[in-house]
């Protein structure tokens, strides 16, 4: 039948080893093998983005990557955004702006938004909308999500300036 493979990867900063079948997606591996159920399944075809995780700093749909491909990779999921219980600025802004209703798409949006702000701390509204176009939300009409991300970017910039001023 389907033999399992031993995979070693860094997930949310921790080196982990796990066994998975080649046919198991990274999403399935994260959720069913590693019990990281924060990444969600919405379509299994790469169209909704609810399963988005960072692989070596790039957002990918974990439903379209095999678990065995994670070998040697650095993976960040929504569970890895808060550091020692301190929420990431994006998480705080999503709460402040009521940028979630049902919350099923939220983990994917947070990951996509983080990857945008890591590269581009000064995005325009259109750049935010483009970066989030691979994540579907059916509850909010995106309005409050886009505002939350723009506000988070502003926060990150002012913190940066703060640090610069301190130096």
């Amino acid at each position: 039948m389907s033999k399992k493979t031993l995979v070693e990867a860094t997930i949310n900063g921790e080196t982990v080893e796990f066994l998975c079948e080649p046919r198991q997606s990274l999403l399935e591996t994260l959720r069913d093998v590693l019990e990281l159920t924060g990444s969600k399944e919405g379509c299994l075809t790469g169209d909704c983005g609810a399963c988005t995780v960072l692989v070596d700093g790039r957002p990918v749909c974990s439903c379209l990557m095999l678990g065995v491909e994670a070998q040697g990779k650095n993976i960040v999921t929504v569970e890895g955004l808060a550091i020692n219980g301190v929420l990431h600025v994006l998480q705080n802004k999503f709460l402040e702006h009521a940028a979630l209703q049902c919350g099923i798409c939220t983990p994917g949006f947070l990951i996509s938004a983080k990857s945008l702000l890591d590269r581009n701390p000064k995005p325009t509204e259109h750049e935010v909308r483009y970066a989030l176009a691979g994540n579907l939300c059916r509850c909010t009409g995106y309005d409050k999500i886009v505002k939350a991300v723009l506000d988070a970017a502003a926060d990150i910039r002012s913190q940066g300036e703060g640090k610069a001023a301190a130096r």
Binding site: G46, G49, P59, A131, A133
Partner: protein, 289 residues
């Protein structure tokens, strides 16, 4: 999904020998953004996936002003859209790579994979065809090159034989006063498959067309070259009449179907519209080169 095996060779020889031993049951595996979906849906029953992303030749992107572009089959689309060289010399191909799916998809999907998937609606294939790209293939019986327009033989099927592997795409260096462009029509602004896609490459001589290639996607069982439409432009000024004629000729080259993405009637009309638009964009760019 049915049970599969997964191997990730690091050299071409290893890859070819693995593919050879499994024959029909094996497939090269790159971004996975098409094949994983197809395996889940049961439309492909491949049992052995051979991950080619660890092979150096398939990961190289290099440009030489004389020799042109060598684009490894596994180079992810995101690297193309983020490459200044690509944006400068092959803006149309870059646009096409940038249009595929979402950022999440572009981080995994490759131009080579897009071609090997053999979809009539692949975005990068018409762009490659317009540029006169060739596909370098290795297999048990050595190497061969195939022009991209001959690579896809029917929906989902390509010239690749069991054991063969697409290594890289070879794109000629753009001549002076040349450029390319790609446009597609989709109902939304992102995430859709092309209802019609048109790629064009032009070389200008003053305000006249010296050379032209036009390719279309999603309007026939495979991506097609609209040679008549392109040839008719040679020696012409790209005025409204010429664009109109080219659009009509491109549309006449199409044999589209009705489906959930659009009617045949709609596709024929859009093919003409996009051909006019894409030619104008390519011309504007060519003037600047």
């Amino acid at each position: 999904m049915h049970a599969i095996t997964y191997e990730a060779p690091t050299t071409l020889d290893q890859a070819v020998s693995i593919l050879k031993t499994h024959g029909e049951n094996a497939r090269p595996f790159c971004g996975g953004t098409d094949i994983i979906i197809q395996l889940r849906a049961g439309v492909r029953r491949t049992e052995h996936l051979v991950d080619v992303k660890k092979i150096k030749e398939l990961q190289t992107l290099s440009f030489d002003a004389k020799k042109g572009l060598r684009l490894g089959a596994a180079v992810p689309c995101i690297e193309i859209s983020e490459s200044d060289v690509m944006r400068r010399h092959y803006p149309g191909l870059t646009e096409a790579a940038h249009l595929i799916g979402s950022l999440q998809i572009q981080n995994r999907a490759s131009v080579g994979g897009n071609l090997c998937n053999g979809s009539p609606a692949a975005d990068t294939t018409p762009a490659l065809m317009a540029l006169g790209a060739r596909a370098r293939i290795v297999g048990p019986n050595g190497e061969r090159e195939v022009p991209v327009e001959a690579f896809v033989v029917s929906p989902g099927r390509t010239v690749l034989k069991p054991g063969e592997l697409l290594v890289e795409l070879l794109v000629p260096a753009p001549a002076p006063h040349s450029s390319d462009a790609y446009l597609r029509f989709i109902p939304r602004n992102e995430m859709d498959i092309a209802v019609v896609g048109v790629g064009a490459a032009l070389t200008l001589d003053g305000d006249k067309v010296k050379a032209a290639r036009i390719a279309l996607g999603a309007v026939a069982p495979t991506p097609i070259l609209a040679s008549k439409a392109a040839d008719a432009l040679i020696g012409m000024k790209l005025d409204a009449a010429a664009l109109e004629a080219a659009g009509r000729a491109a549309s006449e080259a199409c044999s589209p179907i009705d489906d959930m993405r659009g009617t045949a009637e709609f596709r024929l009309h859009i093919a003409a519209v996009l051909t006019r638009r894409v030619l104008s964009i390519a011309a504007e760019r060519a003037k600047k080169n």
